[in-house]
């Protein structure tokens, strides 16, 4: 890892720990994204860490994106960081400089049905994260990107499992402020988001493990810390190994990101495996954390649910386990039994 990245990682850890308190999260659930917090993140230069400086990025390399997302998720940062990065990356890929402010991406979710007719946008985009407060929304229509303001859609407000904005959008002839072609199919764009979610899940899992280990070492029952019971230790050992696997999978997917240049299918395959593996790990880690916490873990005031709720929500985003597992299985069967091991070895760094 470059020195710049090391410094960034340390700064981020401190910044997020400092600025994202339980109260911050509860306020965000009640009132939506905080403009002040967003501006502080912008000042840190973490909004588009991997984009070239000419496009408003920090040019720290692709790994920086994974690290920022992981660190932000360790704090459950209640801002559309991943959505903005994805939107920015998509725009940059089709040669357009991303606008400033929080962005969102529409059209990659289940049930999206959009079309361009005479340059105007029609249709629906369900479950669009952070749509209502976005300064602009990148709408994916096949292999066409369309930039609209959030005012261009009629919005039915909703929330995800963690209480973050997740809105249904309806377009009825909106005129885009920009549109352009992108040389990726929607599955590859989804895979890009899947790798991001895998990194976020790895971050949230690391925090959930820390909270659980801290708690069992301190909570006393039967005259001793409950962490002394092997029946408490072993599920935590299992959860830790899943969390480690998830983090490895996210790193390994980012290692293959460059393949998007000329071998998008291989990157999609890796992102699919990372997302499927991390999602499975997320379920196990979240459940174990709640089990060892007892009742306090499900209370509003205890600082566990912001993480476990996000984990459970993210599992379904940018391709659920069912979706990606099926995608992986199709590719494995299509290539045939004798290509199974070679296709694993050629896609590890």
């Amino acid at each position: 890892m470059s020195n710049e990245l090391n410094i960034l990682t340390d700064q981020l850890e401190g910044f997020f720990q400092d600025r994202v308190t339980h109260q911050t999260l509860m306020n965000a659930e009640a009132n939506g994204a905080s403009t002040e917090l967003w501006e502080e993140c912008e000042a840190m230069g973490v909004i588009h860490p991997s984009l070239p400086q000419s496009l408003g990025g920090a040019e720290l390399g692709v790994a920086s994106e994974r690290i920022v997302l992981e660190r932000a998720a360790r704090a459950a940062l209640p801002l559309p960081l991943a959505e903005t990065m994805l939107a920015g990356w998509l725009l940059a890929r089709s040669g357009y400089t991303p606008p400033s402010g929080p962005l969102s991406v529409a059209g990659l979710t289940r049930g999206a049905n959009l079309e361009l007719r005479d340059g105007r946008l029609f249709g629906i985009a369900p479950r669009t994260h952070w749509a209502r407060g976005a300064s602009a929304i990148v709408v994916v229509v096949g292999s066409q990107l369309v930039l609209t303001s959030s005012k261009a859609a009629s919005i039915t407000e909703g929330v995800n499992l963690a209480g973050e904005p997740c809105d249904d959008l309806t377009y009825d002839g909106a005129t885009p402020s920009w549109s352009g072609a992108i040389d990726l199919d929607p599955t590859a764009m989804m895979a890009r988001g899947a790798a991001m979610r895998a990194s976020q899940m790895a971050g949230a899992m690391s925090r959930v493990m820390e909270l659980s280990l801290g708690y069992v070492n301190q909570r006393v029952q039967f005259g001793q810390p409950i962490g002394r019971f092997q029946a408490v230790q072993h599920p935590l050992a299992v959860a830790a190994s899943h969390a480690a696997a998830a983090r490895m999978a996210a790193i390994a997917a980012y290692d293959q990101l460059e393949r998007l240049v000329d071998d998008a299918e291989s990157f999609v395959f890796c992102a699919a495996m990372a997302k499927a593996r991390a999602s499975e790990a997320a379920g196990i880690t979240a459940a174990t954390a709640h089990q060892v916490h007892g009742a306090i873990g499900v209370t509003a005031e205890y600082h566990l649910h912001p993480f476990t709720k996000r984990l459970q929500d993210w599992r379904g985003d940018y391709g659920s386990e069912a979706w990606w597992q099926q995608y992986i299985g199709e590719r494995v069967l299509r290539r045939g039994a004798d290509e199974l091991w070679p296709s694993i070895t050629e896609l590890t760094a």
Binding site: L213, Q233, A237, A249, I328, G329, A337, W341
Partner: protein, 361 residues
Amino acid sequence: MREFLKNDPAMQRPRVNGWAVWDREFSKRLGARGWVGMNWPKMYGGGERTAFERLVVVEELLAAGAPASAHWIADRQAGPMLLRFGSEAQRAELLPKMAAGECGFCLGMSEPDSGSDLASVSTRATPVDGGWLLNGTKLWTSHAHRAEYMMLFCRSGHSGETEGRHSGVSQFVVDMRTPGLEIRPVYDQVGSHDFNEVTFTDAFVPETALVGEEGAGWRQVMSELALERSGAERFMSSFVLMREAVRALEGSTDPGALRLVGRLTSHLWTLRNMSLSIAGLLQAGASVDLEAALLKDLGAVLEQEIPEVVRLLVDSAPMRASEDALARLLGEAVLLAPTFSLRGGTREVLRNIISRGLGLR
């Protein structure tokens, strides 16, 4: 490597858990091509290749289900242990033969009363003029009747001397032809003879048999276990069965089946990445006890899940011998699966290690 394996006579019948199947001639053929002890120094018969290149060879053997145990222990741990702790004479004498695939090792750790609690071993090496007298019993010693040498872990010094659990233990290289060493077969549940009971009755070994420092055996054996636990064989033992199930499913569009295959594949790819990353850490001289325990625990779960998932994927009945490759591999996997989370440290022992690594005690 893939080409060689396709044409080698030993590969007519790929096996689940092939790396535990002994075939001396196969190991010699690998040795002749420089695929044993690949990353050892040339002066000891090695190839001075990188640890990563060795790993690739190891994985290809596993992916093929090759019968590789005649050189496996030597290549994976006995050789590296001698390079790290052994004397110059031990290296010069043994490593070239090991790298040729001609000299096999077995592991003398477990005893009738010492399984998971390895530090409680009671086999003892008592110092005498010019060497040591060995007394005690080792159990579950795989391939003791086929190997040339044992890497023995036991107490050393006179009994009754004050000693802690982790001190006063040492490692020895023991020639299996040593007088006073007796090997009795222990047949397993499929009737095979791989396990043994090895008894030592005033068996004399020379001073030169000591590996490393007397009394420092615990530290040495812990680094040996990291090598034993972190390899690709800890998640690939059932791979050939998974591949056969994929063959049987080719052309299927059943979403349920596709998802099960997809899930296993995501685990396999992730574990491969973990094992490469541990190999990198080992190469850099880092201690990987925790990482190796994580990998082996997750890996054994996958190895045991594969036959269970295959039963859901393909309408097949497991057989011990059959012309139908899938039925035979499923039979092998079902009967061997219980050992995957026992050998090399049980699931519970690994989870205890992980817990300690997490700061729980």
